[in-house]
């Protein structure tokens, strides 16, 4: 039975992809140090989260059947420390949290929440929505999440995975505060290794010989690039299914093409929205300070950076959209050419298989047999005779 379980439940857009990738690629090293990160595929804990929360996700959920129970069983059987990590666990309801914690047995559970200031999270979440087929404008997104009713799908999801005091209430209310660890993201401009050092300290990874190469990240997009992607979504969301959208739009366009442009302005908040985010963050900081959690970093990190000049993605001009649009067309043509090559290779293989079959059938004996079968299949009596013959031959093996 695990002695300790470190349960990392969020938040999205806090460096979780990189962290999970390091854990996934270093499973063997971790095991040698009594640390378990049980995952047979990179997204194993994502699937477990979908299963725990009964969350259909564009068809991927069909690969998640029983994933939580399997994960929990592996964790229970481990003799040392086990790590579970996925950011969408943040959305779990109290009933689901109760089930999750109960299924971890008697292990000492530590809850970990990595958190970033709202000033950066709000634009990042809008980008994430756009990368998941949404074509909501930035202004409409901000109106939606600032609506206290949280009545929309986007609003309810945003706060379920970003409202830090609420997530900690749902996940941490049954744990002593010293077992709830809040990892804050360093402010912009901080040393790139600082976030890893905070994760490493929290999860007890200091000193382990881990391969920290960044193989998998969730890169952000610039303002015109996000605006272009949103415009594309307006056209394609209704005609491209999620299984096609993921490789063609999110991977090929967003991650592999549009995210390469590092010179574009980054998305931020307009002054009024910045002030609102700061004020809300300040209230959260006060509440979190009172709760006495273990903070790795500083609660002040949650206040967010000062306002910077705002580039409005809803007002991006055709001139600004043209360069990323040309990049997108180029990338899709290259991808189209690659797929054509794959199609051509498959056709060639099929043609060769047909030719081989035809050669095998080109004998006089085969042609005679085929003539007999065709004639017999044209009458009920013939079909009966053939069936009887086939059964007889089948029985004789």
């Amino acid at each position: 039975m695990s002695r300790r379980v470190l349960l990392h439940v969020g938040c999205p857009k806090t460096g979780t992809s990189y962290f999970q990738d390091v854990l996934f690629r270093n499973q063997q090293v971790l095991r040698e140090h009594d640390l378990l990160y049980p995952a047979d595929r990179f997204d194993a804990h994502f699937l477990a989260a979908l299963d725990l929360m009964t969350l259909p996700w564009g068809g991927i959920e069909t690969e998640a059947v029983g994933a939580w129970d399997r994960l929990a069983a592996e964790v229970r059987e481990w003799h040392g420390t086990a790590i579970i990590s996925h950011e969408i666990f943040a959305r779990a309801t109290p009933t689901q949290v109760e089930r999750a914690l109960a299924s971890l047995g008697d292990a000492e559970v530590h809850l970990v929440l990595s958190v970033r200031d709202l000033v950066r999270q709000v634009p990042a979440e809008w980008q994430e929505n756009v990368k998941h087929r949404s074509h909501i404008t930035y202004a409409a997104f901000l109106r939606t999440i600032r609506d206290p009713a949280r009545d929309s799908r986007i609003g309810s999801w945003f706060w379920a995975v970003q409202e830090i005091p609420d997530i900690l209430e749902r996940w941490g209310s049954s744990l002593p505060p010293e077992r709830v660890h809040l990892v804050t993201l360093p402010p912009p401009g901080a040393d790139r290794g600082e976030l890893w050092r905070r994760f490493s300290r929290t999860f007890g990874l200091d000193g382990l010989p881990l391969d920290l190469t960044a193989e998998r990240e969730n890169p952000s997009l610039g303002v015109p690039e996000t605006s272009l992607l949103r415009t594309i979504n307006e056209r394609v969301t209704s005609v491209i299914s999620p299984p096609d959208y993921r490789p063609l739009v999110r991977e090929t366009l967003a991650h592999q093409t549009l995210s390469r442009s590092t010179s574009s302005p980054r998305l931020g908040l307009a002054p009024a929205d910045h002030a609102w985010a700061r004020e809300l963050s300040q209230r959260w900081i006060e509440v979190l300070a009172q709760r006495g959690y273990d903070v790795v970093g500083s609660l002040d990190d949650l206040l967010g950076p000062d306002a910077v000049p705002f580039a409005d993605p809803d007002a991006a001009t055709a001139d600004e959209l043209l360069p990323p649009a040309l990049d997108a067309i180029t990338a899709l043509l290259v991808e189209g050419a690659r797929l054509r090559a794959v199609e051509e290779r498959l056709h060639r293989e099929l043609r060769e298989a047909h030719e081989e079959l035809e050669r095998a059938r080109a004998t006089t004996a085969f042609r005679a047999r085929r003539k007999v079968v065709t004639t017999l299949e044209n009458s009920p009596a013939g079909r009966g005779s053939l069936d009887a013959y086939r059964r007889l031959r089948g029985r004789k093996g």
């Binding site: 979908l50 299963d51 929360m53 009964t54 969350l55 259909p56 996700w57 959920e61 069909t62 998640a64 059947v65 959305r91 309801t93 109290p94 009933t95 689901q96 949290v97 109760e98 206290p148 009713a149 949280r150 009545d151 799908r153 309810s156 999801w157 706060w159 379920a160 409202e163 005091p165 609420d166 209430e169 749902r170 209704s238 005609v239 299914s241 079968v373 065709t374 299949e377 009920p380 009596a381 079909r383 009966g384 005779s385 053939l386 069936d387 009887a388 059964r391």
Partner: protein
């Protein structure tokens, strides 16, 4: 609030606001009564659904063998059931103590039918998984049977295929005739979406239609010409059947059972259930479970989905295009290719998009939760 939960678990039907009014009267303190089991409190969706289930139980349709233990077990299942999908998380109740964060508290009576259906579909999916698939009757294959491959209308095809399998006439075999079952194309679209709901699930009706209209394509099973070519059909071993009365001899029998077209509410509920079943059982097991549901789901009298008027132009042009393709291909036709032209169906009782209203779907879901007859009875015989 725990007091209201206990009230509902005991079969109570008092709405939350009426309960709190009574509880704040002199000498009562029901809103702060201790939790009956110490478990996490459910959301407004689960509580309101349970209340409506209790109302339905009281208002007639009492299930056979009803007793307290069964009622409490059902209540606990409802309270623990998650609301499936990426909608709202569990909603707190207005007037109940909260930590000041999280979703805004609501009066459960105002929770939409859509939200209640998210919980109800989880319960029904779990019931279906527990029930397991009905056994499919397979007759001993008749050696002299007519070889056929059915394509086209999936509702007709699924019903005929199963009937014929039971009669020892499985589909396929060497040199099989490709029998393409057609009909008015708007009906074909409606049947195809409906059958998808009872297989792997689908997008909502309106979104599904929009998907195909904006692509200006037809779904694989509606496009008869493409279906015939996909199955390697060549003249003269092809029949395009638009007159269903003449279909039986082309699959080697004298008659076929009448096809029951599920109502729009049944299809929509099945669609939602299929989404949850997909996360409960391996993907290959879902169609058999959903076919079981199709045969056992109680009728409600709601009409099947219809193509709304706004889509009729596209549907008509698609029908004309398909008719031209079939004519050019020169396949033998049983009936008349003119029958592929759409005929506007009656949309009485349906919503503007030609599908079911969420309230109709919820009504059916609650009926199925309250009355387990669809699970405990033998499968319904649909032959008429």
């Amino acid at each position: 609030m725990h007091g209201w939960v206990a009230h509902l678990r005991a079969g109570g039907t008092t709405p939350w606001l009426a309960w709190t009014d009574a509880a704040t009267g002199p000498g009562t303190d029901a809103t702060t009564a201790p939790a009956p089991s110490g478990r996490a409190l459910p959301g407004a969706q689960q509580l309101e659904l349970l209340r409506r289930i209790n109302v339905a139980r009281q208002s007639g349709a009492q299930p056979r063998g009803d007793h307290d233990r069964e009622r409490t077990r059902l209540a606990d299942r409802v309270l623990a059931a998650p609301a499936a999908g990426r909608g709202k998380a569990d909603l707190p109740l207005v007037g109940a103590a909260t930590g000041g964060f999280g979703a805004q508290p609501v009066d459960p009576a105002t929770v939409s039918a859509h939200e209640l259906l998210r919980v109800a579909s989880t319960l029904l999916a779990d019931d279906l998984v527990a029930l397991g698939p009905d056994r499919v009757r397979r007759g001993v294959p008749r050696p002299w049977r007519h070889r056929f491959r059915l394509v086209g209308d999936p509702l007709v095809g699924a019903a005929a295929r199963e009937h014929l399998l039971g009669r020892g006439r499985p589909e396929g075999g060497p040199l099989a005739f490709v029998v393409a079952v057609g009909g008015p194309i708007d009906e074909l679209l409606a049947h195809t979406w409906t059958q998808r709901c009872f297989e792997h699930g689908s997008k909502p009706w309106a979104a599904w239609l929009r998907f195909w209209r904006e692509r200006d394509q037809l779904p694989a099973r509606v496009d008869l010409d493409d279906s015939i070519r996909r199955w390697g059909g060549r003249r003269p071993h092809v029949r395009v059947v638009t007159d269903l009365a003449q279909l039986p001899p082309h699959v080697g029998v004298r008659r076929l059972p009448e096809v029951r077209v599920p109502g729009a509410d049944q299809a929509e509920l099945a669609r939602r259930i299929a989404a949850v079943v997909g996360i409960r059982v391996p993907v290959g097991e879902r169609p058999a479970l959903m076919r079981t549901l199709q045969k056992r789901m109680p009728d409600s009298g709601v009409a099947p989905v219809v193509v709304p008027a706004a889509e009729q132009d596209w549907v008509a042009s698609s029908a004309a295009r398909m008719t031209r393709a079939l004519t050019r291909a020169g396949y033998p036709v049983v009936g008349d290719l003119a029958d592929l032209a759409p005929h506007a169906s009656d949309a009485t009782g349906l919503s503007g998009h030609g599908g079911a209203d969420d309230r109709q779907v919820l009504e059916l879901a609650i009926r199925m939760i309250v009355d387990p007859g669809w699970r405990t009875g033998r499968e319904r015989m649909v032959q008429r």
